[in-house]
Amino acid sequence: MNSAALQGVLQRISFFLALIAGGSGAHASPAWPGSGSVDDQPPSLPFAATTPAGDLHAEIAALTNTGRELRFARSALTLIRDEPNDVFARYVSVLAQVLEKHGDVHSTTDLGGALAVARVEFMAETHDEASALALTRLACAEILGLGAEIERIGHRDILPLLAKDERLRSRVRDAEVELARYFGEDARLTLGARVDHDEGDEYLLLRVHTALSAPDAFARRDAFDENWWLERAGSSDGLIIDFERV
């Protein structure tokens, strides 16, 4: 990620945190970072010149359940926010209103509730389910400060698991940093919730998606295990870390 893009993400995180901090309704909602500013240009995108914003909605919908929506949405919405229909601004407005109605948001359980309500209200206004899903996941990842893409948000999904255990949230963030050391800063990470079908155990699955060869990927995973993960894995039944070759 280049420095401009990183700065943009950090600004957005600050934005959402400010939204939460001001959730009592006593404060005006903060402005979206860069809105109306010529200095905050969106990161350049390979499809920016050829893909009209309207088509991006269809593309987001086509990517449902592939685990790629969030990254796509991060980029696509950077464009959409500047379009006249401004789906992104509409969602942010809905989320801000919901957070104000909710009052203070002190936990990820509260946050999960707020995001779920915002998603429903956004869909009621726009009838745009695909954008609602992508935007909810975008907001979730950025509010939690995770680098990994959130695979899904639902009743038995990531937020309830993360809400249970601050140590687990911290472990995920630490693991993201360590994985970047072994698989590269640009490695794509995804975080999903899983249920063991036979035994009923719930856990989080943090995966590195890599184009490395099998021997290279195994060597890096083994080094990650040896130098960091094995010291911690025994006390973290709720988290499994692996790679997936693409």
Binding site: R194, H197, E199, L230, R245
Partner: protein
């Protein structure tokens, strides 16, 4: 004579190598991923039966309980933890292969077989260290 679970790994390798254009290729890859897991799991289970004969899982036939017990073993702790960690990873892939309708790539099967072979080697190392 007891069944040789390593043959599961050999069958898994054959299934994982099924060419993409052939009929039922993805079913073969999924089956390869699943057989690879059970090859490694049963190697670990047999190891416990031989070296920790009094241990019983709290829940009958619980695979997760077996992982927890292996990683709790004090002697050769890092080796045991590595076995348990890799078994957990293999189980995730096996669950996806047997239950998840989303596409299961050939690389998943290949990597499951490689990982299962690694686990089996680690278990053999443990047997040697413990005089088996």
């Amino acid at each position: 004579m007891s069944f040789d679970w390593s043959s599961f790994c050999e069958i898994a390798r054959e299934l994982a190598s099924r060419a993409p254009a052939t009929q039922h290729a993805e079913a073969a890859w999924r089956s390869g991923t699943s057989r690879a897991y059970f090859s490694a799991y049963n190697a670990a289970r047999q190891y416990l039966a031989d070296f920790e004969p009094t241990w019983r899982p709290p829940k009958a036939d619980s695979h997760v309980d077996l992982f927890r017990f292996i990683e709790s073993l004090g002697a050769h702790a890092r080796l045991h933890r590595k076995v348990a960690t890799d078994l957990r990873r293999l189980r995730v892939r096996r669950n996806a292969a047997d239950y998840d309708p989303h596409a299961h790539a050939q690389t998943e099967a290949d990597d499951s077989v490689t990982s299962a072979e690694n686990v089996r080697r680690l278990v053999e190392d443990l047997r040697e260290k413990r005089g088996g």
